[in-house]
């Protein structure tokens, strides 16, 4: 079936408006959620304590959080992660208070407790991380823009690719706001890593398509729209096949992998799908539209 599409030279560019509308709807829903409900931040950014305990017996989460609150420690959530294993999210605590909490839980579970994990982050870390992250994103975006502009000897290519990567970042952040609202996903430092990886993956895909456009233009020349259509037809199978292999890997990680990297894998998955979509349906149409507009101006 795919073969016929290639031979018929499907007119991808005809539906430019449709792609834009689809993207705008997705981004609007995502960013709308982000601005109304916000993004739940992990301890990396917000500060606070996360403790995972294993007990001999199951405990009542309400009783546990009540008892801890009595010690003047704010409890934001208590969650059962596994049989007899619970995750406590608290405000940042003093080192000694961990002993108090252990004692409370020992009493409640009527037995020994094991502290599997203890993250305690002071409130000063978040702002610094946020700034460093922003620097990283800006540096990555500018470097990629310059690299493409240099490779294709055209700022047009560079900017189109950059717009596509920003599109992917927005989709990912918006989707995560939705996941955060309905499934309690938290944006931690790994989420930021996923955003940056998405940027690079998106560009990776875009470069492959742009490369083909450049090649066809050199060999055959012709109208930019026809060139784009041909290039998209020729790279579509590759693009989908490559994304599928990455998606398989990530799905395996989401279903079978450890809980601490599960949301990370989900974020990477969203980024991969969006990155695959944005190259043919955002970057290339933008390039074509720009080119056409320039020509009209010159006339």
């Amino acid at each position: 079936m795919a073969k016929e599409i290639i031979e018929k030279q499907f007119n991808w560019m005809k539906y430019r408006a449709v792609y834009t509308v689809i993207s705008l709807i997705c981004i609007t829903i995502g960013l709308g959620t982000l601005f109304t409900s916000g993004l739940k931040l992990g301890v990396d950014f917000s500060g606070g304590a996360v403790l995972e305990y294993s007990f001999v017996n199951d405990i009542s989460t309400e009783e546990a959080s009540q008892k801890i609150q009595e010690k003047d420690i704010t409890v934001s959530s208590v969650q059962k992660v596994q049989d007899k294993t619970y995750l406590f999210k608290l405000q940042t605590i003093a080192r000694e208070q961990e002993g108090d909490i252990s004692n409370i839980l020992k009493e409640l579970s009527k037995g020994e407790v094991t502290l599997n994990r203890f993250d305690n982050v002071g409130p000063t870390i978040g702002p610094e991380l946020l700034k460093k992250t922003l620097y990283a994103v800006v540096i990555a975006a500018i470097t990629i823009l310059l690299w493409i502009a240099y490779q294709f000897r055209s700022i047009k290519f560079g900017l189109s690719a950059t717009v596509a990567t920003i599109h992917d970042a927005l989709i990912l952040i918006g989707s995560f706001a939705l996941l955060s609202k309905y499934f309690g996903a938290e944006a931690d430092f790994l989420f930021v890593t996923a955003v940056l990886t998405t940027l690079s993956f998106s560009v990776h895909d875009t470069i492959v398509v742009f490369d083909r456009i450049r090649e066809i233009r050199r060999k055959n020349g012709g109208d930019i729209k026809d060139i784009a259509n041909k290039a998209l037809s020729e790279t579509m199978r590759r693009s989908i096949a490559n994304s599928l292999t990455i998606i398989f890997m990530l799905l395996a990680l989401i279903v079978l992998g450890g809980s601490s990297t599960q949301w990370f894998a989900v974020a990477l998955l969203i980024g991969t799908i969006s990155g695959t979509y944005s190259s043919p349906f955002i970057a290339v149409p933008l390039l074509v539209t720009w080119d056409e507009a320039l020509k009209r101006l010159r006339k």
Binding site: E128, Y135, A136, L244, T245, I246, M249, G258, T261
Partner: protein
């Protein structure tokens, strides 16, 4: 074309060397077939090469990060308001050394201690693999251990003297000859001995309070001038306390005050569980990718599959050779790079199909496909490598992060891309040349 044979041999050699390094150190072999009875363990010997002053020692074990092996990571804020300029850099460096000494005395293997600076604020990060009960460690690292001797002016006032912990040569635990109580024995440097002699001469008949971190440890009454350069502190402390005091005294005082702002501890069992899950997820994912490639590209897919297996072997071997400290996000980076590694194959195979469809012969189509696809592969991967570089921050730029997990992810992803260029292009090209020629 001429070099196909040579290249195939090269690939086989690299793969075998990689395999030798990549497999676990001990492989138990149990085989019972009729009269044949094999039950033994193959063990790889450690590499230990010495040429002149150059020494290379590797045992080729995978290095696992804190989140996998269990351990803790402590971040302290350094208060630098008291020092300025070049003194600041010096003070921070000596702070790092003192903390390192303390941690080593505590008996943690391979601790990692680094300092960072961001917008004028300094931090020190202490990573302690395998140590999950951090209460003691935090106390030990964070204690200022400022030892000083004071003179008593009157009932209320103590006069600090210039005899401090800096004048100490070493401290050790001993036992009082009369009471059998544990005591801390001090021996001073020659300068310290002189100061101590003067101090004791001035204070005969008076108490001489010994102060550690603002608390009076003991206040023995001086009987006579002590000139030998050694003294002992007896107080009401247990053997453990005496030992803790000597560790702190030997490690020296912290030149700058620090405070704990972040602590992360992972238990060993949690890490092991995560490793097992990741291995399972990786194996399943890899299998699906292999099946997918074979379904889509048939024979070519098999070649890509072989390339992917070689990719896995070389990558794991590189982790051990470099060595890369593997973290949970690092494993994610590796698995992601497996998904990306076949991309060069897919690009090439698609090109090959097109050329074949246009009527090119198989060997010709193959050469065209590899030639044309190379530009895209190179350009596209450089973009990813740029991002990896920023995430890994190998030059320790202060305006970027130096977070361990993120760095682990970026390094494994970058390595994966590098190796995939080798296996996806060089390995599969030569394998295909070899197969298609026949």
């Amino acid at each position: 074309m001429k070099h196909v044979g040579r290249n195939i041999v090269l690939i086989i050699v690299i793969t075998l060397v990689g395999l030798f390094i990549a497999v676990p150190r001990q492989i138990p072999i149990k085989l019972h077939v009729g009269p044949l009875n094999i039950d033994q363990t193959i063990e790889r010997r450690n590499l230990d090469v010495k040429v002149g002053s150059f020494e290379l020692k590797r045992n080729f074990d995978l290095l696992l990060g804190l989140d996998l092996v269990g351990g803790s990571r402590l971040v302290f804020d350094i208060d630098t308001t008291q020092v300025e300029g070049t003194n600041k850099a010096q003070a921070i460096e000596s702070l790092r050394l003192v903390i390192e000494r303390r941690v080593n005395l505590f008996g943690v293997s391979e601790p990692n201690i680094q300092t960072t600076e961001f917008e004028g604020k300094n931090k020190i990060i202490v990573e302690l693999p395998g140590l999950t009960d951090t209460k003691e460690a935090v106390a030990l690292v964070g204690k200022t251990a400022q030892l000083s001797f004071a003179k008593v002016q009157d009932e209320q006032t103590l006069l600090p003297t210039d005899l401090t912990g800096a004048d100490l040569k070493n401290a050790q635990v001993g036992f009082d000859q009369v009471t059998g109580q544990p005591v801390v024995q001090l021996s001073f440097t020659s300068q310290g001995a002189e100061k101590f002699a003067n101090l004791t001469a001035e204070s005969v008949g008076k108490p001489l309070p010994i102060i550690l971190d603002g608390q009076i440890l003991s206040a023995p009454v001086v009987q006579e001038k002590i000139a030998g350069g050694s003294a002992q502190i007896s107080g009401d402390f247990s053997l453990e306390e005496a030992r803790a005091i000597t560790i702190q005294l030997n490690a020296g005082a912290l030149p700058l005050p620090i405070s704990l702002i972040e602590e992360r501890t992972v238990g060993a069992s949690l890490g092991q569980e995560a490793v097992n899950k990741s291995i399972k997820a990786g194996a399943v994912g890899l299998l699906i990718v292999l099946i997918f490639m074979i379904l889509l590209y048939r024979k070519l897919g098999v070649v890509a599959g072989i390339g992917l297996v070689i990719f896995g072997i070389i990558t794991i071997a590189l982790y051990k050779i470099i060595p890369v400290v593997l973290t949970l996000p690092g494993i994610t980076g590796f698995l992601l790079s497996v998904g990306m590694a076949v991309d060069s194959n897919i690009l090439i195979f698609e090109r090959y199909r097109e050329e074949r469809a246009k009527g090119a012969s198989a060997p010709y189509a193959l050469e065209i496909a590899f030639g044309r696809a190379w530009d895209s592969i190179r350009d596209a991967n450089i973009a990813t490598l740029v991002t990896c570089f920023i995430l890994a921050n190998p030059l320790d730029w202060n305006f970027l992060n130096t977070s361990g997990p993120v760095r682990g992810f970026a390094i494994t992803l970058a390595l994966g891309i590098g190796v995939s260029l080798f296996t996806g292009v060089f390995v599969s090209r030569n394998l295909l040349r070899f197969l298609i020629k026949k």
